[in-house]
């Protein structure tokens, strides 16, 4: 794409030849200014990644092996080493801690499948519906991107207001406007909390799927559709045999990124429910671990739970990439 913005160089091949012939075995390094140059270019990024991501991460793993409670917080080098003790507490599903962690994990799995699946579906539907030019297309495109551009907490806090029992828009719509029988339910307390959190997360996420798929569709040439239409292909068939395969590279990345974001989602439950009330039905795993560490002041167990979460994500991601790569090799 960018190549079109720059005029092509007619003598580029001779230039390359001249440059490479000048160097010996490591000519590639020499012509680009010394072997250390790429490392110098990467140094600032490596420094910040070490300080903010890698070292804290490693520390977190270490914390998961010690008994870091409030007593040892000021002098955490003195906290006793407990080995896998924090892990066995977290994974003891007969105890209250393990049982609520298991519940939170299952809730998060259901949440992720629903949110990623539906967001992808809506994004795809919108991208396909706006694929062909028509009057007002730009307006819809702009409108659909607004929830993505709105700051996360501002969008979620609006939904929190809409989900209020007596003053909210959702109950007003369902019971006053549409005339559903029965009493207005709570949405942010009890089992309905799951539905509420799924809806809010989809509202935030689907525009991202739409954005990526729309960008991907721009590289699908229009004449492929026209040719297949001449051959008598129906729209659904065109979608499954042209659009979907062409979007495969986008989908591979998109689904993975949406999975990781959704599974680690902290903002939605934190803003929707607040830090004091956590309905078990909306107790996503990041939120659960946050509460387990900061409300009980037991950081060792919290860290152990986080490491387990990381291992789970690592296994799922690796399996996914393996599966995707094998399929693309076969194809």
């Amino acid at each position: 794409m960018s190549a079109t913005t720059v005029p092509p160089q007619p003598d580029s091949s001779t230039v390359t030849k001249r440059v490479t012939s000048r160097g010996s075995k490591n000519g590639q390094h020499r012509r680009l200014g010394g072997w250390w140059l790429p490392y110098a270019l990467l140094a600032p990024a490596i420094l910040f990644e070490l300080l903010i991501h890698i070292v804290p991460m490693a520390t977190g793993v270490w914390v998961s092996f010690i008994k870091l409670t409030q007593i040892y917080l000021r002098n955490w080098g003195a906290a006793p080493f407990v080995g896998l003790g924090n892990y066995s507490v977290s994974l003891d599903f007969n105890s209250a801690i393990g049982k609520s962690l298991l519940n939170s994990f299952l809730v998060t799995c259901g949440f992720t499948v629903l949110v990623v699946g539906i967001s992808w579906g809506l994004g795809m539907a919108a991208a396909v519906a706006l694929q062909r030019a028509f009057r007002g297309r730009g307006l819809f495109r702009t409108l659909f991107l607004i929830p993505y551009a709105i700051p996360i907490y501002a969008g979620i806090i609006t939904w929190k207001f809409m989900f209020q029992k007596d003053t909210g828009a959702v109950n007003h719509l369902l019971f006053d406007n549409l005339g559903l029988p029965g009493d207005k339910p709570f949405w942010l307390i009890g089992d309905n909390a799951f539905l509420a959190i799924v809806i809010v997360a989809i509202w935030r996420l689907w525009p991202f799927a739409f954005l990526m798929l729309m960008a991907g569709l721009q590289s699908v040439p229009q004449d492929v559709y026209e040719a297949s239409a001449v051959d008598g292909a129906k729209p659904l068939r065109q979608w499954s045999s042209i659009t979907l395969p062409m979007l495969r590279p986008v989908n591979v990345v998109l689904v993975l990124v949406m999975f990781l974001w959704t599974f680690n989602d902290f903002n939605t439950p934190f803003v929707l429910f607040g830090s004091t009330a956590q309905p078990p039905a909306g107790d996503l795993i990041s939120f659960h671990i946050y509460n387990a560490s900061f409300l009980t002041w037991n950081f060792g167990t919290g860290a152990a739970m986080s490491v387990l979460l990381l291992l789970f994500l690592l296994v799922v991601t690796s399996a996914y990439l393996l599966f995707v790569n094998r399929r693309s090799k076969r194809a």
Binding site: M1, H29, G155, G302
Partner: protein, 279 residues
């Protein structure tokens, strides 16, 4: 090529459903922000009975919103620019050189996207405290700590996207520039960066929006005068009253600048995504 009836029905249904889904919360946000508190505390009404602009005046008094606004603006702007500079260098290195450790670097950087924030929140806090004790550089409760944190959060995606973008710029162009005597940095400045402008805009928007919406680390790393909008917005409901009309007014005030900026730059954003992330 004519649309079939089925295609038309699909398109209309999709657009109507998604428009309603998108617009209803926006409508609630806007109308609630101009309702008096008494009306907001009663049953919901789609059309406001009384209209007042008072919430827009009160939001600045109930909570020091201007201060939070300034904090968010400083933190996000600085984090965006610094991360962009660092990402440009790193992406240039990854895209133009084959060196030992290249694969390890890209894999590690991308795998940080998997890290659950809750796992390194406390260690990061403790490391910041230790740095403060050892060097006197305050990183907890200051804007600096938040800036460093945010710029690192957006680095992986920025590097990945820019590297993809740079890959799309023919190497021959910067080789030619280097032969002319400008060196590797000259080639970056004169050839690669001008050609990568949409990618830079896209990454910049992404970084700014991500920082602007971050809640978890802002809640732990800031105190009183350095708190950002993400934290400030929650304070309208810790009082005796929940000032929903003010919350909606403040949400709107906080959202409008970034939504407008995003919509103005959306073409660049999509172009940057197409060339960078999607290949």
């Amino acid at each position: 090529m004519r649309d079939t009836v089925g295609t038309k029905v699909f398109r209309v249904v999709t657009l109507v459903v998604l428009t309603l889904f998108t617009v209803i919360p926006l409508w609630v946000m806007i109308t609630t922000s101009i309702k008096p508190l008494g009306d907001v505390q009663n049953a919901f009404a789609w059309i406001p009975e009384h209209i007042t602009l008072e919430p827009y005046i009160h939001i600045w008094q109930t909570v020091p919103l201007a201060q939070y606004f300034l904090n968010s603006l400083i933190v996000c702007t600085v984090a965006t620019f610094v991360s962009l500079i660092i990402a440009v260098f790193a992406a240039y290195g990854v895209s133009r050189w084959r060196f030992r450790g290249r694969g390890a670097f890209t894999t590690t950087v991308l795998s940080t996207q998997m890290f659950p924030g809750v796992l390194f929140l406390l260690p990061l806090f403790l490391i910041f405290v230790n740095i403060d004790q050892a060097t006197g550089i305050q990183l907890v409760g200051t804007r600096l700590g938040l800036i460093i944190t945010y710029l690192t959060f957006v680095l992986p995606f920025s590097i990945w996207m820019l590297a993809g973008y740079f890959d799309g710029i023919p190497r021959d162009l910067d080789e030619a520039s280097k032969v002319d005597g400008t060196g590797a940095m000259g080639a970056l400045w004169h050839v690669v960066l001008p050609a990568a402008r949409p990618g830079l805009v896209a990454v910049g928007i992404y970084s700014f929006m991500t920082s602007w919406g971050e809640v978890l680390f802002a809640s732990v790393l800031t105190t009183g005068p350095t708190q950002t909008l993400a934290i400030g917005l929650q304070q309208y409901s810790t009082q005796i009253n929940v000032y929903w009309n003010q919350i909606m007014a403040a949400s709107l005030v906080v959202s409008v600048p970034i939504v407008v900026a995003f919509l103005l730059l959306q073409r660049s954003f999509v172009a940057g995504l197409t060339a960078g992330a999607i290949k």
